[in-house]
Symmetry: C2
Subunit: 336 residues, 2 copies
C-alpha cells in the first residue's frame, strides 16, 4: 500500500506566505539563496515550484490544533521550524559535500559554500525572531524549545561527521546521532504548537515522545531507502548511502551484529579504493545477510508502535490524533 501525506499541500500553502515574508527580511544575498533553497526560484532567479514536503510545518500546525489554537496562531511556529530545518540542510550539505538536495543542485553548488552558510545563519536567526515578535509567553517558550532542538541538530551533525572517520561506531551511538539529527526537530515540530499556544505540559510531553519515536522510525525508513530505495523515490542514485560509505543504521547494525557477513562487509567498506558497482551490490547483500535490513525494519515498526502509544495516552481531538498517526505511518513506511 502506498501512503500519501494529504494535509501537506494544505500546510505548505498556509505556511509559505509566512516563510516568504520571513525571507523578505533577509539581506538581498541571503534572500536569493533562501528562495532557491525553498524551491521558489531556479538558479537564475526565475519562478519555480520545487518545494519540499512541508512535513514539519504540517506537524506544527497539527500540534497547534491539538491545543485548540486557531490556524493563524500556529503559523509562526510552523514557519520557524521549517526555517531551522532549512538552516540545517543548507549547512549540512556544505559540510557533507552533498551536491544534490530535493532532486536539484544543492544551494552551495549554485551560490558557493560561504553564501550557503550565511543564508543558513540568517534563516536560523529569523526563525527565533518570528516567534519572539508574537509577544506571548508561549512563543518565548516555543523559541526556547526550538533552541534546544537546534543545539541537538548541531550535536547530531558533529557526531555524523565524526562517524565518517571511525570504524568502531556502535549501534547505540548511531541511534543517538539519529535522535539528535532527525528526531529532535521532528519532536519539536510535533509539540511546538502546544507550547506556543500555552497548552498543557502533559500534552507537550506526549507529543514530544510521539515525535521522537516517529522521527527515529523515519530515519530508519530513510536509511533503508538510502540502500534499497529507487532513484525516483530518493532523488539520488540507487545504493547512494553505500557509495558514500555512510554509517547508516542498517549498516551499523550489520557491522556490529557479530556475523560472518558483517565481518565481510567491514572488510569491503574498509577498502581504500572507490567501490565499484558490483561491490555496492555485494555490500547491500551482505547487510541483508548480516541482518541489518531486517533489524532496521523491525526497529522502525517498534518505533512506530511506541509513537502510537504516546498518542494513545495524549488528550487530543480524535481528528488530530488520526492525522498524527497517519503521518507517523507515512514516515515509517518506505514511500516518503
Amino acid at each position: 500500500m502506498t501512503l500519501t501525506l494529504p494535509p501537506a499541500e494544505a500546510a505548505r500553502e498556509l505556511v509559505e506566505p509566512v516563510l516568504r515574508e520571513a525571507v523578505d527580511r533577509l539581506d538581498a544575498r541571503a534572500a536569493r539563496v533562501a528562495r532557491y533553497h525553498f524551491g521558489w526560484v531556479d538558479e537564475a532567479g526565475r519562478p519555480a515550484a520545487a518545494g519540499g514536503k512541508a512535513l514539519r510545518p504540517t506537524l506544527a500546525v497539527l500540534s497547534g490544533r491539538a491545543a485548540g489554537a486557531g490556524l493563524d496562531g500556529c503559523l509562526p511556529a510552523a514557519a520557524a521550524v521549517e526555517l531551522v530545518h532549512a538552516f540545517s540542510l543548507l549547512h549540512d550539505d556544505v559540510m557533507d559535500d552533498d551536491p544534490v538536495r530535493r532532486h536539484r543542485p544543492a544551494a552551495w553548488t549554485v551560490f558557493g559554500r560561504s553564501a550557503a552558510i550565511l543564508c543558513g545563519n540568517a534563516l536560523l536567526t529569523v526563525a527565533g525572531d518570528l516567534l519572539l515578535e508574537q509577544g506571548t509567553q508561549g512563543h518565548v517558550e516555543a523559541a526556547r524549545a526550538l533552541n534546544r532542538a537546534t543545539l541537538s541538530l548541531v550535536a547530531g551533525q558533529a557526531l555524523d561527521l565524526e562517524f565518517q572517520d571511525r570504524g568502531d561506531v556502535t549501534l547505540d551511538e548511531c541511534l543517538l546521532m539519529s535522535r539528535h539529527k532527525t528526531a529532535s526537530l521532528l519532536a519539536c515540530a510535533c509539540s511546538i504548537g502546544v507550547t506556543a499556544a500555552g497548552g498543557p505540559a502533559a500534552l507537550t510531553e506526549a507529543l514530544t515522545g510521539f515525535g521522537t519515536e516517529a522521527g527515529l522510525a523515519f530515519q530508519l525508513a530513510d536509511d533503508l531507502l538510502g540502500i534499497w530505495g529507487r532513484a525516483e523515490q530518493t532523488g539520488k542514485p540507487v545504493l547512494s548511502d553505500l557509495r558514500t560509505r555512510k554509517k547508516s543504521l542498517p549498516v551499523v547494525a550489520a557491522l556490529t551484529g557479530g556475523t560472518p557477513a558483517g565481518h565481510r562487509l567491514a572488510g569491503l567498506l574498509a577498502r581504500p579504493e572507490p567501490l565499484a558497482e558490483a561491490d555496492l551490490h555485494d555490500a547491500a547483500r551482505l547487510i541483508e545477510e548480516a541482518g541489518g535490513r531486517a533489524w532496521a525494519e523491525r526497529e522502525a515498526a517498534r518505533r512506530l508502535d511506541a509513537a502510537t502509544r504516546h498518542l494513545a495516552n495524549a488528550d487530543l481531538p480524535p481528528d488530530v490524533r488520526d492525522e498524527f498517526l497517519h503521518i507517523a505511518r507515512f514516515l515509517a513506511s518506505r514511500d516518503h
Copy 2:
C-alpha cells in the same frame, strides 16, 4: 599617548563564569572548540589564558549601569553579545580562510572547518537562550536586538566576500559593509543593557547611535592598523591587509579618489601574481599619496566626534558617560 582599556579586565572576570557556564551546555565537540576559541585551553585542551579584550561585554555592562541595572542583571546580556561575536569570528575565519585569530591558530585550523561552523551555530543558539531564560520582557527585547545585530553581521560578511571579487567597490558600499560587520554588534553591546533592564527607549537610541559611530571609528582605526600597524599590535604580519588585497576603507578611499596615485594603486592590486614585499610597500605609499590614509584618519576623528555628541545628549550617570567616552577614544586610537 597610549590609551588602555581599564575596565576590560573587570568585565572579563565578571562575564567569564557566565560564558563558561553557557559553553558547558553545548555538546562535547562544540564545547571543546569554544573553549579553545575563547582562549581558555590550548590546542590539546590544557588550561591557557589567551582571551580577547572583552570589549563588547565591557560595553554591555556599562550599558546596564547606564540604566541603573545591577551588575548581575547585566551579565547575561554581556555574555550573549560576546557569544554572538565568537560565532561570527569562528564563521568568518572559515570563510576568509584566515589562519590566525588573536595571535593563535584560528579554531578551524585546529579542529576543521565543519567543527568551527558547528561551534559557531551552537554559540549563536545559546546566546539567544541565555537572554530568554531570564524571563523578563526586557530580555526578550534584548534577544530581538541581538537577532537584528546578527542579521546585520551576516549581511556584512556577505558584502565583504562579494567585494573580494569586485573592482568597483564604492566608499559608500565599503562604509555600509563596516556598519553591518563591525558597528551593528558594537552598537548592540552599547545599548543591550538598557534594553534588557527595560530602560527608556531614548537612552537605547542614544547609545545605539554612540555605538554605531564608535564602531565605525574602530573599523577605520583597525583598517589603518591593517596597513601601517606593527606586527606586535595586530598579531599579523605587517601590511597584512595588503597581502590579502583586502578592500579596506583606506584602500577604497584611495582607489575611488580619482588621483593618479589611486590609479597606479588599482593597477598594482589588479595584478594576477602574488605581490612581492616591495609591491606591498609601494601599495602602502600609493594609498598615502592618494589620500586614503589621511581620509581614514579624518573620518575616524569625525566618527569619534559624532559618538561623543550622542553621549552628550544621553541621560547618563557621569561616571558611565566617562567610561563610554574613554572606550570610544581607545577604539578610535591606533593602540587597540
